[in-house]
């Protein structure tokens, strides 16, 4: 393969940072959560890239596990967001600030 591994890593790094930015900038809980998903994917990409670099499959297995984790997290996360919405009819995280100080 002609593409240097580093490119993939940099790509994953960029995606990771974009995900970070999403978490920091968006107010919609769902979108924030999506950004987290993006970060997880970035991590996966890095794992797979490293796997390719080392020339073994561990990395891919790890990526597989992380997908499972992501799935589970999504379930819990969406459940929480739904229950929050039921309470305050909003998924805008800026509205939820009764606890502060």
């Amino acid at each position: 393969m002609r593409t240097p591994i580093a490119f993939f890593l940099v790509l994953s790094g960029i995606l990771f940072s974009v995900g970070t930015a999403g978490v920091l900038l968006r107010k919609n809980a769902l979108v924030i959560f999506m950004s987290v998903e993006l970060q997880l994917n970035a991590a996966n990409l890095a794992l797979v890239a490293f796997a390719r670099m080392h020339g073994d499959l561990q990395g891919q297995v790890l990526a597989f596990f992380s997908m499972i984790v992501a799935a589970a997290e999504v379930v819990v996360g969406l459940a929480i967001i739904v229950s929050v919405y039921r309470r305050r009819f909003s998924v805008n995280v800026d509205d939820a600030r009764e606890l502060r100080g």
Binding site: M1, F8, L30
Partner: protein, 191 residues
């Protein structure tokens, strides 16, 4: 210019672009769609990296299941309206972007220092097909694999505990009314 290079240079920009697109879409649905595009590109990268199985899983699980779930929730909650992107928290936007850039920069630097951009890996014999992955999964990684089951159980309980509650009957109309009223309040607050 070899094929894989071309593929990479085609899809990598798309991936980044769609990610950024997600970042700036005022509508949650659009954001979700951009994310799906992003996941697709990543799956292509998997293909380039000899991970056919993950390529499949990525499309099915992520682009398929997970994002559909997202869209479903978005619809369910009826929050597919335009979210105003005006930033009310002082310095949040600048800081956020700066931090993101910083993180990207650091990772880039570390990669350059650790691996270098001219390092090419020889084509490897084993490619991540299903059976190839099955072997470590059921030997070395058997225990973690079992542990994931617990994870899923917990997730299931979570869904039951949190979602399954006698919701106070609230019509979408009411909800939207509240939202409008709240947005107005916030707008005043920001003036």
């Amino acid at each position: 210019m070899p094929l894989d290079n071309v593929v990479f240079w085609v899809f990598a920009p798309i991936a980044v672009a769609s990610a950024i697109g997600m970042l700036f879409m005022r509508n949650a649905v659009h954001a979700a769609l951009f994310l799906i595009v992003d996941f697709m590109c990543i799956s292509v990268m998997y293909l380039l990296l000899d991970a056919p199985f993950l390529f499949a899983v990525q499309i099915i699980v992520y682009a398929g299941a997970i994002m559909v779930l997202f869209l479903f929730v978005i619809m369910l909650l009826g929050v597919d309206r335009h979210e105003d992107l005006r930033e009310r928290l002082r310095g949040q936007r600048i800081a956020g972007l700066a931090l993101a850039a910083g993180a990207a920069l650091e990772i880039g630097l570390a990669v350059r220092a650790g691996i270098g951009f001219s390092r090419h890996v020889p084509p490897s014999a084993l490619s991540g097909t299903a059976e190839a992955l099955a072997k470590p999964l059921f030997t070395t990684y058997f225990f973690p694999f079992e542990v994931t089951s617990v994870l899923l159980i917990v997730a299931a309980i979570a869904a039951m505990v949190l979602a399954q509650r006698k919701a106070k009957a609230v019509t979408l109309a009411e909800a939207n009314a509240r939202n409008a009223e709240r947005d107005a309040r916030l707008r005043d607050a920001t003036k």
